[in-house]
């Protein structure tokens, strides 16, 4: 009926459709942007309509939402969380401070550009982004997934050396297990 190529194509379409409509966000409010997540998830904006749901542990999650600036101490935990997540996994940078440091451009304790340390799929700008902006960011991610362009995890695996170098430059005391999946 189908040859292998067509069959795998169909499987891919089904997979991407399911992935797209079922995004589980790991419950980690890394910055002050976490305050806009309750409105996004609850009755007024109701992100569950799009299949967006919180998940308690990184093992079960698909999306790592970096809600705002990352201090160096948090960056270490975020990297650990990200590496515990299972592929396919996506990173959303939330807020201006993940893009270029925002108002913390001269702070000694926050990183200024998230994509040097983790592969970011979608950025949402604003300080802080409104729930509508968050949802539109998720919809952008859904588009990327259905087009097969949300390949952050692949980039991370392929350029692991580069990311590691950047991460080690900031995190002075590097005690982390190897990334092997």
């Amino acid at each position: 009926m189908f040859n292998d190529k067509e069959a795998s194509k169909i499987v891919d379409i089904i997979k991407n459709f399911a992935r797209k409509h079922s995004l589980w966000v790991v419950a980690y409010g890394t910055g002050c942007g976490a305050i806009e997540l309750p409105p996004t998830m609850t009755s007024r904006y109701d992100a569950e309509r799009f299949g967006i749901r919180g998940s308690a542990t990184p093992r079960q999650a698909d999306v790592l939402l970096i809600t705002g600036y990352l201090s160096v101490k948090t960056l270490k935990r975020v990297i650990r969380t990200y590496e515990q997540m299972q592929e396919p996994k996506y990173v959303i940078g939330f807020g201006s401070c993940t893009i270029n440091g925002g108002m913390y451009w001269d702070s000694y304790n926050t990183i200024k550009a998230l994509d040097r340390y983790l592969p970011v799929d979608v950025y949402i700008n604003g300080c802080m982004p409104r729930p509508e902006a968050v949802i539109s960011g998720f919809i952008k991610l859904q588009q990327l997934i259905s087009e097969g362009k949300a390949d952050g995890a692949k980039r991370y695996r392929e350029n692991l050396e580069w990311y590691r170098e950047n991460q080690r430059k900031v995190i002075k005391n590097w005690r982390m297990p190897e990334y092997n999946w």
Partner: protein
């Protein structure tokens, strides 16, 4: 609002009788500033807590007066009964940044001391929990000291995305990139015109 300053004056009187060297100033109603020699701080705090009913340690702060080469330690005590804040201040040398703990008087002082130890590098003898509190693996000079340059530190340690080297006007950048016109009313609020 004019309130009689009976409580304040009485407290000042009592402090004066016990600590003769204290410089006492009534800043305004319910704010008394007490300047003390550094060795008198622990007895003063203990006295204020036990005899004057200042049993709420509202705040404990530190100011770096680098031009005098001194740290100023500021203890803010509040009395619920008298409704007065006493600001007890003392100065210690910047070179030998050491002081005694007041953990035995208020246990929450431990937290403040941990923070000040980390941010200013002041050692509190008697506090055995001066470990990492807020920062992690910090090996530079304590960051809240005035001689720590945070801009330089950020420039050296963190990658900064190009595009914000100077104070750019967002509207002008947008105009340059996409050709969108700046409306007239917005022009007068532009950063360049304010200067």
């Amino acid at each position: 609002m004019n309130k009689n300053l009976y409580n304040e004056n009485q407290t000042i009187e009592e402090i004066k009788n016990t600590f003769h060297t204290a410089e006492i100033k009534l800043q305004r109603e319910s704010r008394i500033i007490v300047k003390l020699r550094s060795d008198l701080i622990p007895p003063f705090l203990s006295y204020a807590k036990n005899y004057l009913a200042f049993n709420h340690l509202a705040h404990f702060s530190c100011v770096d007066w680098i031009e005098d080469n001194e740290f100023e330690l500021v203890y803010l005590l509040y009395s619920y009964e008298k409704n007065i804040v006493v600001i007890a201040k003392t100065r210690i040398s910047r070179d030998k940044a050491e002081f005694v703990t007041i953990k035995h008087l208020w246990r929450q002082a431990e937290t403040y001391e941990r923070e000040i130890h980390e941010m200013f590098g002041i050692n509190f003898t008697g506090n055995d929990r001066l470990n990492e509190f807020i920062l992690e693996d910090w090996d530079d000079i304590p960051p809240m000291r005035r001689d720590f340059n945070t801009i330089q530190f950020a420039k050296d340690n963190f990658y900064t995305r190009p595009g914000r080297e100077d104070a750019q006007d967002v509207r002008e950048t947008i105009t340059k990139k996409s050709g969108e016109k700046i409306p007239d009313f917005a022009k007068e609020f532009s950063v360049r015109n304010l200067k």
